[in-house]
């Protein structure tokens, strides 16, 4: 940190004053030196630095023929030195650079989706990432996708409408419990079955198919969002943040103490023990046969198929389903961004008073943002509960709200691509990255005979805090910001309230 700040303050101006060729030479030399040094610490680390460096310098070469030659040479080197998967990754990266600018808006997402769908097939064959170790496992991928989905949902509230929501975890919890109630033995007095998979008709409890439950979870949470939103959304800025924080605390407490609701003996949430197990996901035998086995009958008893030398696992199916849900979220989010409602959200973020004077009903519009965000949070929660086949009150602490907010901030508020990247990265760190990094540090860093013995995941909150700190210092608009938010972060918005507080949110 200190070194970075010193470099920004003293090193950078002097370096900038040098002639261009010298600067290039220095940078190239430094990168090569770094790559060679790191190669002796850890082979893959050296490879990776060399690869990134090569990628950058080749991109600066004149277009033809030098770039093509350079790219082929680099790919060939990596193929020969025995890291073919890195060579393939580089080849894909190079190919993307060759796509003309106007197709890139299409080509990049399509490529990303394809790579994501095929991920279970090549995950095991990938090169180890330096420091971070092996590529995340498919189960981690499911969790990452769920968190990305929640971050995209929260982005509607925080990024588009500019409402600071510190209690998003409440919606996640509500979704998870909705799924749990209606697909487990929780309400054993009742016996209701509707399309559930892997159950016998005389199994007690309410069992509804997960596909209906996802929708139900989304709708209930959206309604809850409206109910919570109506009294709170007339508050501004910090006040709203504090009230939402309160709601984020209340709901997990209800979940924790809900095994004896209001002392009536009614067991709503099964208290700290949580609700488990949940019914399996699946489409049932009928649909499965009709689609020739493409849609599995029961996720947990899946699958016999062998493709591309990979036995399809049930986690793979969960992973693909999560991709579909995420795509749905992204689609809705994008459609909304460029609609009448999306414009109104952005207008409210920029200047509430002016927005109201232009005919935007503040309360209604903010409530829609809140409800939409809650809807996706609820679906994500329900899906996650089904994937884990359990839900516990301990999963829904305040730190999750902050964690999701960090994802949005890190990626870039208001920009959906940024949020996806930020959320994916942080969720990965949380599930695997930190543990792997810790293992790497413990194995490779030593001073003489002293070896550190760090349990890095213990420092998770501190590390996320540090990441946010660094982002805020050097790139307050996030990794991939939206054009507008970037401008706001650097120049501020004017938001002197012109309203009387009692009147601020009055609805006609």
């Amino acid at each position: 940190m200190v070194l970075l700040l010193l470099w920004k303050r003293f090193g950078l101006p002097r370096y900038r004053a040098l002639p261009q060729q010298t600067r290039w030479a220095i940078a190239m030399g430094a990168e090569l030196l770094l790559a060679i040094l790191l190669f002796f610490v850890d082979h893959s680390l050296g490879y990776a630095v060399a690869a990134v460096s090569a990628l950058y310098w080749i991109h600066r070469l004149p277009r033809l023929p030098w770039r093509l030659v350079g790219q082929s040479v680099v790919v060939a080197i990596f193929l020969i030195t025995g890291v073919p998967s890195l060579a393939v990754a580089l080849a894909i990266a190079f190919a993307v650079f060759w796509v003309p600018q106007r197709y890139r808006t299409w080509a990049l997402p399509v490529l990303a989706i394809l790579l994501a769908i095929l991920y279970p097939f090549y995950q095991a064959k990938m090169f180890t990432i330096p420091v971070f170790g092996v590529w995340p496992d498919v189960a981690t991928g499911v969790v990452m996708l769920v968190f990305i989905m929640m971050a995209v949902g929260l982005n509607i509230v925080v990024g588009y409408a500019g409402l600071l929501d510190l209690g998003y975890v409440a919606f996640y919890a509500m979704g998870a419990y909705t799924a749990a109630w209606f697909s487990s033995l929780q309400f054993a007095k009742h016996n209701f079955h509707l399309g559930a998979i892997g159950t016998t008709p005389n199994l007690p409890g309410i069992h509804i198919t997960i596909w209906l439950l996802l929708l139900l979870a989304g709708v209930t949470t959206a309604l809850a969002g409206i109910i919570i939103g109506l009294p709170t959304l007339r508050l501004r800025g910090d006040y709203l943040a504090i009230v939402t924080l309160g709601f984020g605390e209340i709901l997990p407490q209800i979940a924790r103490n809900g095994d004896n609701l209001f002392g009536t003996g009614f067991n709503l949430t099964n208290g700290p023990n949580g609700i488990t197990p949940l019914d399996s996901l699946g489409f049932g035998n009928g649909i499965s046969h009709a689609t020739g086995g493409l849609l599995p009958a029961n996720y947990l008893q899946c699958c016999n198929a062998h493709y591309l030398g990979h036995q399809v696992q049930s986690t793979d199916v969960f992973f693909w389903t999560a991709i579909v849900l995420l795509l749905f979220t992204v689609f809705c989010s994008l459609r909304l961004q460029y609609s009448r409602l999306g414009r109104a959200w952005i207008a409210i973020r920029e200047d509430e008073t002016a927005a109201a004077a232009m005919g935007v009903p503040l309360m209604r519009t903010k409530t829609w943002a809140y409800a939409t965000g809650a809807f996706f949070g609820g679906i994500a929660g329900a899906y996650y509960a089904s994937f884990k086949s359990a839900t516990f009150p301990g999963d829904f602490f305040f730190n999750i709200s902050v964690f999701i907010l960090c994802m949005v901030i890190l990626g870039g508020m208001g920009n959906i691509w940024g949020v996806i990247v930020g959320a994916g990265f942080l969720a990965y760190l949380d599930r695997e990255g930190l543990a792997n990094t810790g293992a790497w540090v413990n194995a490779n860093i030593h001073v003489g005979h002293w070896h550190p013995n760090l349990d890095v995941p213990l420092y998770a909150s501190g590390i996320y805090g540090l990441i946010i700190l660094i982002v805020m210092l050097f790139r307050p608009e996030g990794l991939i910001p939206s054009r507008r938010v970037a401008a706001e972060m650097h120049e501020g918005v004017h938001d002197e309230p012109l309203y009387e507080s009692v009147h601020a949110g009055a609805e006609a």
């Binding site: 232009m358 401008a487 004017h494």
Partner: protein, 271 residues
């Protein structure tokens, strides 16, 4: 003047009063705006003009009195409801959506006139598509009308000052107002820009059948385009009439220049 007397008047404010704690910012003002006219509201700084405006547009709730718009009592209705009923406004210190483009600013202004909602926006039904493309066309027309057609993609904050003022007007026009409220529209403009603006307002009245109520300090603008001038001082209406009449009114001169000046003028036989 009673609130029922709406014949030919777009807006009737009766006994409108606003107190901030012990301070009476607007003191029982009766005010009418006849259809198709340009009315100016003038007065020294702190006379309560902007407070009065804010009560008409619903930003403040009057302490007492009623505001009737097109025969309907709109007292204390929230701003968006009043905008939907036909008042468009601009702000004294420009309040554009700084980081949105000129076109987007105007499109936000159309909010109350468009019908698409959350659900059909996601599906993007043919109806929504049609509405959006029509809204876009209309917005571009308004930009054309205010002379900003070529800057439609420019971010609002990157527009020159005069253009930002025009964009505010375009955005206010997008709300399809019956009555347009302009709060010091020529503040900070040079004399030539002011003159252009004056003729623009005159055209808007004549071509679009618009009624305009504006707060203005620049007397050339006020005298040039107003059909009637009302003067506020210390929250009270002290004079009303044609520009000529108001110009000669003793209380007005007193309000602007002080008692001594009036006596001075009398002594010199100017009055």
């Amino acid at each position: 003047m009673s609130a029922t007397e709406t014949d030919g008047n777009i807006l009737v404010a009766a006994g409108v009063r606003k107190e901030f704690g012990g301070l009476v910012a607007v003191n029982d003002v009766d005010f009418t705006v006849p259809r198709g006219k340009v009315i100016s509201l003038i007065g020294p700084n702190g006379a309560g003009k902007t407070t009065f405006f804010n009560m008409l547009t619903g930003v403040y709730k009057p302490t007492a009195g009623t505001v009737t718009l097109l025969g309907e009592d709109v007292t204390g209705k929230p701003p968006h409801a009043i905008t939907a009923r036909g008042i468009g406004r601009t702000f004294q210190n420009i309040r554009l959506f700084q980081n949105m483009t000129a076109l987007e600013n105007v499109l936000v202004g159309m909010h109350a006139r468009l019908k698409s909602n959350l659900f059909n926006s996601i599906i993007r039904t043919p109806g929504v598509r049609r509405e959006e493309s029509r809204a876009r066309e209309h917005a571009l027309e308004l930009l054309e009308y205010t002379g900003l057609r070529r800057q439609w993609q420019t971010t609002a904050k990157n527009l020159p000052y005069g253009d930002q003022r025009r964009l505010e007007v375009a955005r206010a026009l997008a709300t399809e107002p019956q009555l347009l409220l302009l709060d010091e529209p020529t503040a900070g403009m040079n004399p030539q820009e002011s003159a252009e603006f004056t003729s623009f307002v005159g055209h808007a009245r004549d071509e679009r059948g618009l009624t305009v109520l504006m707060i203005e300090h620049d007397m050339r603008v006020v005298m040039g385009v107003s059909d009637r001038v009302s003067v506020l001082d210390y929250g009270e209406k002290i004079a009303e009439g044609t520009p000529r009449e108001v110009q000669k009114n003793e209380r007005v001169i007193e309000a602007y220049l002080g008692k001594a000046a009036v006596e001075d003028m009398k002594r010199q036989g100017l009055s």
